[in-house]
Amino acid sequence: MYDETVTILDNRKVNAEYYKLSFRSKRLAKNVLPGQFLQMKIEEGYDPFLRRPFSYYRTVGDRVEILYEILGMGTKLLTEKGKGGTLKVLGPLGRGFSRHVERKKRILVGGGVGVPPLVFLAERYDCYQFLIGTKSRKEILPSSEIKKFAKTVRYTTEDGSFGKKGLVTNLLEDLLKKEKGNPQDYFIQTCGPNRMMERVMEIADHHGIEGEASWDETMACGVGVCLGCMVLTRKGWTASCKEGPVFRFDEMEKGH
């Protein structure tokens, strides 16, 4: 874990909803795993007081990229920061996704702002199918952001303004119906709204496919101390920041 003050290289809107922030940090870039996160103090001062957790989106050399949307005061303030501005970042934190899935075919299922850590996986490692669901075309990433794995990507939007209309979980069901392989030939990794991931887990369970999901809750400390960001696993309430945010499907309590 490193606690650093970093200088912003770039911070700009990439589509109607998302912003991309980049900064340079050799240590944070070198030691991170997809699915891990960092805790960012956006402004010195007391309001907002707490840091904000962000998942990693991409690292290129010693450059770290974060993809985010405005969710509240902290992220709103972040959009106002420009090149040369400074941020305090603590990371990498938490447990990430499995990078290597043996010989299995990696299926990624991302919803909304849960997509960035999966992009990290698809780009850096491998990907068989990348299913992305958003509310509308406003959240669709520009093609330049996904070019390394563009062939694997299939979109759904809830309003039908891009890709197939409907939920990304329907796309997953359709895909698995068509696939001819054995369940153990696949591995699903998912990140997105809780309801979406619960449905992904149900579908995976139905097909007997293993996988991992990134569960997070509102965090304060980000290091397993405050016990604010608990998720219900088979071990009981578990700090998503420390034991997670990525958990294997079979670690989670059913119907949590």
Binding site: Y46, C221, C226, M230
Partner: protein
């Protein structure tokens, strides 16, 4: 060189910096960031007799200059604490203050009795008499049942360990409660615990915390905490006080010392800056050097009043 040694009754701390219960874990959670041996003491998260699952989610919510929490004393219970946590501190010779809460006065007594067996490894007990987030043994139950005296007597009977009673304005008049606590056998006080607050999500109209309300901490409560520390030290100058409530910078720490605090417990600030304790310690030393203060005691209770014209 500045002598930061802080003496409280029979206890001797190398400096006045400690941590507020619940903000520093129960063992080595911050050991990657902080050399615990540099702290005056560590106050562990509240231990209960039996393991507690804690409250449903959401348990926390950020508010202006602070946060609300309703964790509900999630912990693994006494047995795990004595087997797994106490040895960690003993081996490293880190002064440990054990914070306890019982669901009844009887449980407080049992906890004290059990922990007394480890008295060589424990610097002091801190009684959590003011948790806003639990029913039995929580601040409301203690206030409504007038249980301060009974609880402290139950603990006092079982141990010779130094006892700090942790109070909050939620218990009623703090000075009266403080006097009652001392009469009942507490050796010192911890001021203050979180203050109950609330936040509402305006779209869903649900409270932001699953249990409705929670304890407010952080800089938002600092002036309130400072006032209580000052007033209690004015009224009870011989009673030692662990001050907590939004201490975030070394300047805050100096303020509390001037008001009379003996130990300074850093709380929510740890969540923002894992090295807050050591940063504050450094700042405090520099302040002393700049002001030619040789012993930290020279600042304690040194408030200068305005001249009346």
């Amino acid at each position: 060189m500045v002598d930061l040694t802080t003496r409280i009754g029979p206890l001797r701390f190398k400096n006045p910096i400690t941590v507020a219960s619940g903000t520093f874990g129960v063992k080595d959670e911050y050991a990657d960031y902080v050399d615990y041996r540099k702290l005056g003491a560590v106050i562990a998260k509240t231990i209960t007799l039996h393991p507690r699952k804690g409250n449903p989610m959401p348990r926390i919510c950020e508010t202006p200059a602070g946060m609300l929490n309703a964790i509900g004393l999630q912990n693994k219970g006494l047995r795990d604490f004595v087997e797994d946590k106490i040895p960690y501190f003993r081996k490293r010779k880190i002064p440990l203050i054990v914070n306890i809460a019982g669901e009844s006065t009887k449980e407080f007594g049992i906890l004290a009795k059990e922990l007394d067996r480890y008295k060589k490894s424990i610097a002091a007990l801190e009684l959590n008499l003011s948790c806003p987030n639990i029913e039995a043994g929580g601040v409301r139950a203690i206030r409504e049942g007038r249980l301060i005296t009974k609880t402290i007597e139950a603990v006092r009977k079982e141990t010779q360990l130094f006892i700090f009673a942790k109070l909050s304005p939620e218990l009623g008049d703090v000075l009266e409660t403080a006097k009652e606590a001392i009469r009942a056998g507490a050796d010192g006080l911890s001021l203050i615990n979180t203050i109950r607050g609330m936040a509402i999500h305006i779209e869903s109209r649900k409270p932001r915390l699953a249990v409705g309300t929670g304890g407010l901490s952080g800089p938002a409560i600092r002036p309130i905490a400072l006032r209580y520390v000052y007033e209690i030290k004015q009224a009870l100058p011989r009673v030692s006080v662990i001050a907590s409530g939004g201490i975030t910078t070394w300047q805050d720490a100096v303020e509390f010392l001037i008001a009379g605090a003996d130990l300074l417990a850093i709380g929510t600030a740890n969540f923002v800056n894992p090295r807050a304790t050591l940063d504050i310690l450094e700042g405090l030393k520099e302040y002393c050097l700049k002001h030619h203060i040789k012993r930290i005691g020279e600042i304690r209770g040194s408030l200068v009043t305005h001249r009346r014209s």
